[in-house]
Every structure is written in C-alpha cells, then in structure tokens.
C-alpha cells in the first residue's frame, strides 16, 4: 500500500468479523477469563483499519521495537563510556573555553567515576560494574557513545528523543512506526507504553503523542498491574453477564440502523470496532498475563526479587507483547515521584542514584535479551536502551552530576546488529561528543531503517508539507546498517 495521507481510518465490516463471529466470541468463556483463548487472540481478519499490516520499503531487519528508556539522564562516564582522564585530572576545572552550561547552580570540578570498568566478551567492550548482567551480553551490544541532544531540559530532551523535536506537538517514533507498518495483531494496540509504577516519565503522555497525526496512532498505556488498559473491563458494578447482553442488544440495534442507512459505511466500521474492543478485552490481559510464565522465566527477569521485579515485569510484558505482534513497545524506567531518587536524575549523588537504578534494571534487561534470543526473537526485534541526555564529567556539589546533552551513550541490540562495538566517541572527559556525532535524527533514521523503512520516504502530509520524523536531516548510522 502506498504511504498516502488519504489512508482511511475506519474499519469496514464486510469481509471482516460478522455478527456470527461476535456471537461466537461472546460464547467463549475464555475471552472473559484470565486464561485467555490463544487462537482467537492471534489476529482478527479486518478489511480496513489504521493498523493493517503494511509493506515496509525494503526487507526489514526487525519486525518490532522495544525501547528501554531510562528517564532522568544516565551518566555516560559511569556506564558505557569509561574516562580514565577523569582520574588524572580529578578535582581540577574542566579545561574548556567559554561557559559551561549547567542546569542547576554553578559548575564544579572534574569528578572521576565512582564505578570501575571491565572489558567483557570476545569484543572486550568496556562496561561499568553497574551492569554486570547486561555486560554478559557485551558481544550483542552496539554502544553509541556520541549521541548529542539539543536541550538540557528533561522534558524537551525527552520530546527530542521521542519525536525529533524539543517542541510539543510532533508524533513520536512509535506513532511513526505504527503509521508506517501497521500492526501484526488487530486484537492489541499497535504501540504500547508501560511506564514506571512510581510515575510517568518527564513530560508525561506527550512522549507517546501522535502529534499532528490521527490520535489513533498514539501510544496506548498498559498498566503494569491490574487491567492493562483503562476501561478495558466493565466496572464491578456491572456483572459480566449483563454486559454481554448489552453488547448483543447493541449489535442488533446498530444493525437495524445500518440497514436503514446503507449509504453510511462508518456505521459498519463502528460495529466492527465494538467487536474488536471485545476481543481486546480478552486478549490484552492475556498478553500481559505474567503469572503463566515458568518459574525459570520469572527468575530470569528478576521477578523473585523486590528490587528487580517492577522493571522485570515491564520487560517480560514487552517480550509477550512483541511475541504477539505488537509493533512498538516503549518502556520507561524512572518516574516522577521524587525526582532525585525515583529517576536517574543524579544531581545529588551519582553513586547512590545510579547504584540503585542500575540494580533495578540490569538483571531484567539482561533477562530480556537472553529470553528474546532463546525464543529466536532477538534477530527480529530491535532493542534500544536510551535516556534523554548524558551527565557532566564535572561534579555537582562534589558527589552529583548535572545534565549534559553534549554527549550520551546509548546502545542497540537485536535486529541482527553487529554487537560488541563502540560507535563514535566523546572527548577525553566525556563532556562533548567528538567523533562521529550522532543526532536524534540519525538515531531515528537508523531505527526506521532497521524496521524496513527509508526515513526520507516515510512521510505524512500536514499543513502543506510532507512531514518526516527526521525533518530534513538524519543519516543511518553505517556501523548499525552493516550486517
């Protein structure tokens, strides 16, 4: 299908689900229960929907994307970008010309990492002691050490990573990917967001907004406990049996109406949307039904430990969703409760903050990589680990680090990416990216490339312009492109 802005946003019944199918569904106890009905949840045949699977521009390397977003700003010098020079010049001013732009207060002196680095795997990729489990996958990680952003404001930086611009109102990467490719499973939302139980990331729901695109392409929040989607199930005040009767009556009355108004195809679309909603009601809980996993799998994600269990659940949900054809899963770690302790925003004490948060995510992320690989999914899933900006090589009040959009380290894995490589480089202190500077446009171009789309061709007509995720910029990172 051509990528045009004239795409219909309406489902049409016709060749899709019929009333008979609905009655059949209504009869399936499984759909109402937690145990689910796997066959019915595989996919629904729908004739036209905003999420119909669409052909990519070229053979994709990955079918799905899992984004692991560490909200608050991860320090590169303390994780994936070792800087021995910081030891040597510890306590001295950062030798640069001009102002050092800090977010809070005043610049401090250079501060070495409180963490030690080791080389891992065949590649010898250096990783700090914060991530021993992720490090065991060193040969699968492509670390990019020269990602630059445009803002040292948490929210604007989040928006830039999410949409390529620091301003509000642009569609997020997940919206672009689902707009471009649709979804493999009509029974589930195509773009799912799971945020930290402590709260949403900086900037809140605008991070998964569809911006100027139809709202249908925005991310759907899955809660990590209870019913995954808001209003997925009837409230306790309405017994399930009653709801079933209401649906049956609704369908009859809507059909009587549609017969009187044969001209109005939207009515059929609306009838279908109720059928899909009903399927979603059964399939969404099943998709995140973590209890059905084996004890070994649960342990792999750290569900047996209260420190790792919350993010472990998010990671395990991500695998289950991707397995079921969800196109884009956006996980956030770090939520706006108490900014300095509940997110990676280590102004006060980088050692304490990063020790705590790395411990929460390290094992679950390693588990996710292991599990995806074991199930043969890693090669067709792109995993991106990122944050909104890096941190300063100089200290904030002796122990903390302030924001630094001058360089950050992110990594990608899966999607047949060559692992064990470090791409780009920051300067000797980790203050600014120096070699092979990678912008968010480059990152987005690369992500689209891996799912089979040319970022210069994926466009959406808006206000007289063919808008792109990458505006008029962006280059696919060659080392990631290389197989």
């Amino acid at each position: 299908m051509a990528f045009t802005d004239r795409r219909k946003f309406l489902f049409e019944a016709g060749g899709g689900l019929s009333g008979v199918a609905l009655s059949w569904l209504l009869g399936q106890r499984g759909l109402l229960g937690a145990e689910g009905a796997p066959a019915a949840c595989a996919n629904a045949a729908v004739k036209d929907s905003p999420f119909l699977p669409r052909k990519p521009h070229f053979e994709p390397r990955a079918k799905a994307v899992i984004s692991l977003f560490m909200s608050g700003g991860v320090s590169q010098m303390d994780t994936f970008d070792p800087k021995p020079a910081l030891e040597k010049y510890a306590g001295q001013p950062l030798p640069v010309k001009g102002d050092i732009v800090v977010r809070q207060g005043h610049p401090g002196p250079l501060m070495p990492s409180p963490f030690t680095f080791k080389q891992y795997g065949q590649s010898g990729l250096p990783v700090s002691e914060l991530f021993p489990h992720v490090a065991s996958h060193a040969d699968e990680l492509a670390v990019i050490r020269s990602v630059v952003g445009r803002s040292n404001d948490h929210v604007m930086a989040h928006y830039e990573l999410a949409s390529g611009t620091v301003r509000m109102g642009a569609p997020s990467v997940g919206s672009w990917v689902t707009y471009g490719l649709g979804s493999e499973n009509q029974n589930l939302p195509a773009f799912v967001v799971v945020y930290d139980a402590r709260g949403g990331p900086f900037g809140g729901p605008s991070n998964w907004s569809a911006g100027y695109m139809p709202a249908a392409y925005q991310g759907t929040v899955f809660r990590s406990a209870g019913d995954p989607i808001m209003d997925l199930k009837p409230p306790a005040t309405v017994p399930g049996g009653q709801m079933k009767e209401r649906l049956a009556l609704l369908e009859k009355l809507n059909r009587l109406d549609a017969e009187k108004n044969p001209a109005n195809s939207e009515l059929a679309a609306r009838i279908t949307s109720y059928e899909l909603a009903y399927r979603m009601q059964g399939c969404a809980p099943q998709a995140v039904e973590i209890d059905s996993e084996s004890a070994a799998t649960k342990a792999l994600y750290g569900l047996d430990n209260p420190v790792t269990a919350p993010f472990g659940r998010q990671c395990l949900m991500a695998r289950r969703l991707v397995e079921r054809g969800v196109r884009f899963v956006q996980l956030y770690h770090g939520g706006l409760g108490i900014q300095n302790t509940d997110t990676w925003d280590a102004h006060g004490n980088v050692k304490e903050n990063h020790t705590q948060h790395a411990a929460e995510v390290d094992l679950p992320m390693a588990g996710l990589l292991t599990d995806l690989k074991a199930r043969g999914l890693l090669d067709e899933t792109l995993v991106v680990w990122q944050s909104e900006f890096g941190r300063m090589p100089i200290s904030q009040r002796g122990l903390g680090r302030d924001h630094n959009p001058g360089t950050m380290s992110i990594w990608m894995a899966g999607a047949k990416i060559k692992g064990g490589q470090a791409i780009g480089a920051s300067d000797e202190f980790g203050y600014k990216a120096e070699q092979q500077i990678v912008t968010t446009h480059d990152l987005h171009a690369t992500m689209l490339h891996l799912v089979g789309m040319d970022h210069t061709k994926l466009t959406y007509a808006y206000q007289g312009r063919q808008m792109r995720l990458t505006d008029v910029y962006g280059e696919v990172i060659p080392q990631i492109k290389a197989v």
Binding site: F9, P50, G91, Q92, K97, D99, V101, R103, G105, H106, D153, V155, M156, M168, G169, P189, G200, F202, G203, G204, P205, P214, A215, M230, D231, L232, P234, P235, T237, V238, Q242, E245, R246, L247, L249, L250, K252, L253, L256, D257, A258, N261, N264, E266, A269, Y274, L276, A277, Y278, M280, G335, L336, I394, Q396, R397, G398, I437, T439, Q463, G464
Partner: protein
C-alpha cells in the same frame, strides 16, 4: 632509474590563489565575511580564520583531520558546510591537501557573488505570484440561475445545483423534521433536543418554523459554548503551560469565557480579531479586550529558565505566527522561518516582518479593575511591604550568627574532600576547590526552624515578637485584584524574574548594558526593542533590523504598519497587523472563516484543508460559492450568526443524510458535492455533553474556573506536574465539556479517545477515527455507566413501569424519536430480563447517538 616509479604518487602542491581562494570566495565568505559572521567565524583573513569562531579555530595548519573547516565540508561533523550545498569531491580534496600542506594564505578575501541577488531581508513578491486563486480578492459572484425554482431560490442551493446538474447528480430529498431538529440542536448548541423541543418544532405549522428554530438556537447561551469551542481549537487554548512543570494558568479561563461571550454576542469577526491581536491597543481597552489578548499568549510555555534560553521567545513568536497564519489567513507562514517558503510566495522577509509586528509583546497580567483601583492596590501592597521591611531585616540580623552555625555544621557533614574545599581560606583554594566551595556555599540553605533550635531564649523571644508584628501588618495586605492573562507591548529584556528564572552564570541578557523598562508608562512614545532578520532562522545569525509588515502576496493596499495609540504605551504594530488581517483588501481572512463555518455545518470545507489555502492545500470544490460567501460575510458586517442563518436556510443543509443513489455513487462516491447531507461523528466534548444532557444531569452553569472530573490515580501519576484538583464526580463536574480543565501535559482521556487534537498547536479540522478504545470507553467507563443509570431513573420516573413506555421514552430522550416496531420489540425483550439501565447504556452506545445526521 627505478627509484622514480617506486615513489608513491605525490600529492600535487595546492595553490592558494588558484585553487583555494575561489572556493572560499564563492562559497564561504558569504556567511563568514563582511556581511555576517555566522558562528562568529570570519574567513576573510588567515588571522581571523585561525582565531576562529564560537566553536574554535577554522583549521589547524598541517592537520586537516583535526580541522573544523575540513570536518564540516567533508561531512565528518554536522552541520554540513556550506549550508547551501556540499562542495564537490575535488574541492573537498583541495581544501584537505591545502590544510595538510600548512594552509598558506595571502591577502584578504572578498565575497564573489555570481549574480546580483536581492537581499533576503528585502525580497519582494512579484505580481505573477498572485495568480493562484486564493491570493486574488474574492469577487462578488452572481448566483447562477438554473431554471429550477426550488433550487434557485437560495443562492447556496443555486451554486450547488449548478454542479449537480453538470455532474449528473441527483440531490437528496429533505430530511424529516425530527431529524432536522436534532441536526440543528447538535450543530448550533451541541446538545440534543429534548422530546418537548422536538415536538414543538414538528408541530409548528408556521412557514417560518425553521427560521424561528435557528433564531431561537442562536439566541441560546449554549451556542457560544458550542461554536466558541471551534475557535478555541484554532487558538490552541489550554489551562496549563505544558513542558516540564506544566504550571497552572489560573486566569486562562477568562479568555475561554471571552470567546464564548463573543460568539454569543455575535461580535463582528473583524472586531473579534482586533480584540485578540491588539485589544490593549484599541481606543477603548475594556477588560474584555485585555482578556482577548490571551489569544496570542496561548502558546505552550517552558516557564523555567526562560532568561537563560532566549530561543524560547523565538519559538513562542513562531507559534503566534503559525497560529495567526493558519488560523486567520490559512497560510503556513511559519514555513518561512528558516528560508523562503518552498511552495507559496512567502519570502522569509514576510515572516520576519510579521515577527517585527509582534516583537514588542511581553506577557502581562492585565488588572481587570479601573486604573485608580489598580494603582491603589499597588500602593497598598508597597506600603505593607515597606512597613515589614525593617522588621524583616531585624529578624535576619538576629538570625545571622545562628545561620552561620547551622551552615557550618552542614558543611561538616560532607565527605572530606568537600569539607577541605569549603574550609580552605578563599585565597588558598585550588581552582577546582574554588568551584566546589562555590557550589556548596551558594546552595546551602538554612531554614527558620533549624535556626530556632539553636537560638538563645531571649533571641528567640525577640524574633517571635517581630514575626508577630509582621503578621499583623500582613493583615493589611489587600486582596489580589482580578487579572487577565494577556500581552501588551514592553521590553521583554526587563521581564521580572519568575520562579526558577535566576540566570545561570554567564547566561541571560546583560541588562546593565541596555536602558529601558519592562512596561512603558506613556510619558514618552513607546519604542519597540529592535527585531532582526535571522538567517536560517538562527538566533545567532542576525541580519538587518526588520520593520513591521505583512504577507506581501495578500496585501493589496498600502496599509500602515504601525498605528501608535494616543496612550503611547504600545507601538500600534499589532493594531496595524489586525487591521490588515481584517481588511477587505486581504483576500484570505473572510474566505478562511466562511470556509470554517461551512465545514462545521456541512462536515467538510469547500476547501478541505481549512488551515491551508496555499498551493499545497486542496483547491475549492466550489470557488464561486466560496467567494460569494466571503463577500456576503463582509457585507453582513462580518456577522457569524448571519452566516449560520444564511447557510442553514438552504435546502442543501436540510437534505437527508440517508439518501442513497447508485448513479450518484458512481460519479461522486465521497459526496464531495454535497448531493446528500454528510453525517458527522460528534466531537469528543459533544459526546460527553449529550450523555449528561439526556441523562438530565447537565449542570448548565456557564463560565468561571475550570472543573476537574475525577481521573484514575494511575492516569494522574503519568503526569504529576501542574495541577489536577480531586473533584468528585457530581453536579460540580457535570458541566459542559468546554469548562473541563485543559492540561497540556495530560489530555482528558475521554476526549483523547474521541480524537481530541493536540492541544499545543492550532487546529481547524479534527481527525475522525473509529477505534476499539472508543467502544471500550462508552462500554466500561464509570462515568458513562453512572450516567446511563441516571437516564434509567429518569425514564422510569417519566414513563412509569410499563416496558413499552420505558423503551419509547428512552428512545425519545436519547435520540429525539420514537423507536421503530423492531426496535421496540428488541427493547422490550431485553427489559424482560435485564435492568433498565442496561437499555439506556446501550442507547448511549448506539451509532445514532454519537452521529449528527
């Protein structure tokens, strides 16, 4: 000799004059030379190039790989240079070799321009550019005479009928009165009619029954709540700032109420524009007009470290230009921020001329009381503070020694190396210790309670006495006066600091270097701070100072660009801008608004791209009709209500939406020519309002502070900055949806599901999608279920206990009509086993309920 062949190929020596200079002169000096030094780099002399720009020297002689010049032209670093196109591989090779060979350089370079170009700041638009239909003034069209009496009677029908005849389309018959009543109510006031209202219209035997109904609805205060909402989309209205802190805007609602009132009063649209763009500059700057200036201030705002980030202001101005451009004249003027518009004849000059028209703006809270009262308020506040000042100073003095003690004890809690830095005498600190000590000392705060714990009893006693005195004086502080969130002219460089606004070291505007004041007192004429042309839209790359001006292609007369008001406190540039926008010599404004009105009545614009009348917008399906409407709009004194009357009295508006015709479908399957009425899915707000209204629970109180219907804690957690008051579900929140708090960081979920547009950008036409989450919301949302129960109670009390009567009443209330035989049968069968609220819940989910037909 064998040696010669064994030598590697020698790189030929590069000649500066022959090889390098032409490249520099043709490609580099334009932006890094006499006219401008983008990035503070000057490439005219070797010394200047070596001294370098903002990012360092242009080259390191002998090492191209380490040279910025080479890295940027070769694409190793971004941005790629030159900005206007990459050098050839040969040229890049020359520059590399030249640097590697030591970068010899003789003389000073001058820019060599191939052909004479108009300066971008002065670029004019040629007359041919006006050929495109939307740039020509609308012509007074004669409605066609088709020889079909019933269609020729109304000009709108006459225009439409001509197309039907040409295309061989058969127009649909008129809809029945029940349908028409529901259509008119939902369209004009956004609430479905009560059974009694339907009955009154159906039984009205007067030949003017329809006209009477329209007049009655236009006189309803609910009209403004419905049609004002359309404009609030254009005005990207919201109650919070957006971005990180999403601060509450406690007075934003006044603008919302102003818009509703303006629609209800039928403020002429030209006046409406003047009030919103320049209300403070009008001769009679009433409270209403000051509130109206909130239009320009409805942009999403960071609201933190604004002074450190001067680029924010450019983005806010860009947002204003985008909103005025798309919203008022249907042009994407904002596309010309960084370069001339790619498709429309809008040079970058026009963008910066418009920016200059707005440049003097500052954010201000306009007092909404007469000036003497406002002055008295300021004086009283100053008096209170003056009385408190010496007392507060004395408190500080008593506290000082204790505060020192507390601070020192806090220093001692830090690790050793930090303590060392702090306690080392200032002159003996290493440069690193200076930084560290500075951070600690400047950020160590001491609370009053910490001090009290250490205080000697007599000091504590004295402090408490002083505080008590301060508190007594505080009681005289006058109550805050009501204010409007608006704009006026001033000098933004003197904007008072807000929360988090203290500039970081080395940042911010050097105020001591300029003279001026935040607001002008009118003792001498106000002069706007200089506005500049920005090359590539880059704030660091200033061009010439810009004079105010308009979009040239849409300017047919030489209107003044500045109309300084008598009070001398503003420039009058915005007034001039508003006058141009609302002028009959502007070809776009009337067309764009007439088209918006048409769109909302007919479900589709004559130009479908409501906010884009440029070349990339859609062409009008009925250009003569659009012109005729635009001219009529102006002739009728820009009265919006007169346009409703005009359009709604056509037969076309009254046609049925249920008509089908295979012949018509073959010619025009999408009904582009309105051969039948286009059914429309109700907007999010109207779905909710309709539910409340039919349930009989709608609280019709108008205006005032926004309301906060309950949201799940889980949802609130996704965005816990800014505010969301925990109001209970009930009468207080069962207000019309236009009064629900618009939080930029957290769109109201019920609305979002039904295609709420992004609240941060101007939007004329909402998307309409049909997705499963809408079904889930109407089926499972507690609000909907609770309202269905209320509706059931209402049905039971009005219809009694007979099942047939209940079904009939439920249909009448929800849909304004009686059920068909089949529907009644199904309903009654359902009620034999299920509760009444099940039936009412189903009705609220019906296609018919959420569609305007």
């Amino acid at each position: 000799m064998a040696v010669a062949t064994a030598l590697p190929a020698q790189t030929p020596t590069v000649s500066f004059d022959r090889d390098v200079k032409p490249v520099f002169e043709a490609r580099c000096v334009k932006c890094h030379g006499p006219k401008m030094q983008l990035g503070k780099l000057d490439m005219r002399t070797r010394e200047a190039a070596v001294a370098g720009g903002a990012h360092g020297p242009a080259f390191v002689a002998g090492n191209a790989e380490q040279s910025r010049l080479y890295r940027h032209v070769a694409g190793l670093e971004k941005p790629l240079m030159p900005m206007d196109g990459k050098l050839s591989e040969a040229e890049i090779g020359i520059l590399k070799d030249w640097i590697d060979q030591g970068a010899p350089w003789q003389g000073t370079l001058a820019e060599v321009v191939k052909k004479k170009e108009e300066a971008p700041e002065e670029r004019t638009v040629r007359a041919e550019a006006r050929q495109s239909w939307s740039f020509q003034l609308p012509k007074a069209q004669q409605p066609p005479v088709n020889g079909a009496a019933e269609w020729d009677a109304h000009p709108v029908d006459a225009f439409l009928y001509r197309t039907w005849r040409e295309k061989g389309l058969t127009p649909a018959p008129l809809a029945g009165r029940t349908t028409l009543a529901r259509r008119a109510y939902l369209d004009l006031i956004g609430l479905p009619p009560t059974p009694e209202q339907v009955k009154a219209f159906v039984e009205d035997g007067s030949p003017k029954a329809w006209e009477k109904l329209i007049d009655q609805l236009l006189a309803s205060p609910h009209y403004g709540e419905r049609w004002g909402r359309h404009w609030l989309d254009v005005a990207r209205y919201a109650d919070s700032n957006g971005y990180e802190h999403d601060f509450d805007r406690p007075n934003a609602w006044r603008y919302r109420d102003y818009v509703i009132a303006a629609f209800n009063k039928d403020t002429p649209f030209d006046e409406f524009l003047r009030e919103q763009i320049a209300g403070d500059e009008m001769e009679e700057a009433t409270s209403e007009r000051l509130i109206a200036t909130g239009f320009l201030r409805n942009y999403a705002k960071v609201g933190f470290r604004e002074k450190d980030n001067p680029q924010f202001r450019f983005d806010y101005l860009d947002d204003m230009i985008a909103t005025v451009g798309r919203g008022v004249i249907g042009l994407t003027v904002q596309c010309a921020r960084c370069h001339d518009h790619k498709f429309d004849p809008i040079p970058q000059r026009d963008y910066y001329a418009m920016q200059a028209s707005l440049w003097g703006y500052v954010e201000v809270d306009h007092p909404l009381v007469p000036k003497p009262e406002a002055d008295a308020y300021a004086t009283e506040v100053a008096e209170v503070e003056a009385k408190q000042k010496p007392l507060k100073a004395e408190v500080k003095e008593i506290e000082a020694p204790y505060a020192r003690q507390v601070r020192e004890s806090k220093y001692r809690k830090w690790p050793q190396h930090i303590q060392e830095a702090v306690f080392t005498p200032e002159e003996k600190r290493t440069p690193g210790q200076v930084l560290l000590a500075n951070q600690i000392i400047r950020t160590t705060g001491v609370s009053s309670a910490e001090i009290d714990r250490l205080m000697k009893p007599e000091d504590l006693k004295r402090k408490k006495e002083l505080l008590a005195k301060i508190a007594v004086i505080e009681k005289d502080r006058p109550k805050p006066i009501p204010v409007a969130m608006g704009i006026t002219d001033g000098d933004y460089r003197f904007t008072p600091d807000g929360a988090g606004d203290e500039p970081a070291p080395g940042k911010g505007i050097k105020r001591e270097a300029i003279e001026g004041a935040f607001l002008s007192d009118g003792t001498k004429p106000y002069i706007a701070p200089p506005a500049y042309f920005l090359h590539h839209g880059d704030a660091e790359s200033r061009g010439k100072e810009m004079q105010p001006g308009f979009v040239q292609v849409a300017s047919y007369s030489k209107l003044p660009v500045e109309l300084p008001p008598a009070h001398r406190r503003t420039s009058g540039r915005r007034m001039a801008l508003a006058n141009w926008l609302a002028s009959r010599d502007n070809p776009l404004t009337a067309r764009v608004m007439a088209n918006r009105i048409w769109h909302h009545h007919f479900g589709r614009g004559i130009v479908t791209t409501l906010d884009n009348f440029g070349k990339t917008g859609e062409a009008p399906t009925h250009p003569e009709l659009l012109d005729w409407l635009a001219v009529r709009f102006q002739d009728n004194g820009w009265s919006i209500k007169s346009m409703h009357r005009l359009v709604m009295t056509s037969r076309a508006y009254r046609m049925t939406s249920g008509f089908s015709s295979a012949a018509n479908e073959r010619v025009d399957a999408d009904n582009l020519y309105w051969w039948r009425y286009r059914a429309q899915r109700l907007e999010a707000e109207i779905v909710r309002d309709s539910i409340l209204h039919v349930a009989g629970t709608l609280n019709t109180k108008m205006g005032g502070q926004a309301v906060f219907p309950p949201l799940p804690e889980e949802t609130l957690k996704s965005m816990d900055k800014g505010i969301w008051l925990r109001q209970a579900d009930g009468e207080e929140t069962w207000r019309r949806s236009v009064y629900i708090y618009r939080k930029r960081g957290l769109p109201f979920p019920f609305f979002e599901v039904f295609d709420l547009p992004d609240q941060n950008i101007t939007c004329g036409r909402r998307n309409v999608s049909t997705v499963p989450t809408q079904a889930l919301t109407l089926l499972h949302n507690e609000f909907v279920i609770a309202q269905a129960a209320r509706l059931a109670d209402r049905v039971a009390s009005e219809a009694g206990s007979a099942k047939e009567a209940q079904v009939d009443r439920a249909y009448l209330l929800a849909l304004g009509r009686a059920p068909s035989e089949a529907e009644r049968r199904e309903g009654v069968a359902f009620l034999s086993e299920q509760p009444l609220q099940g039936l009412t819940h189903v009705l609220l989910n019906l296609n018919e309920f959420v569609y305007l037909r």
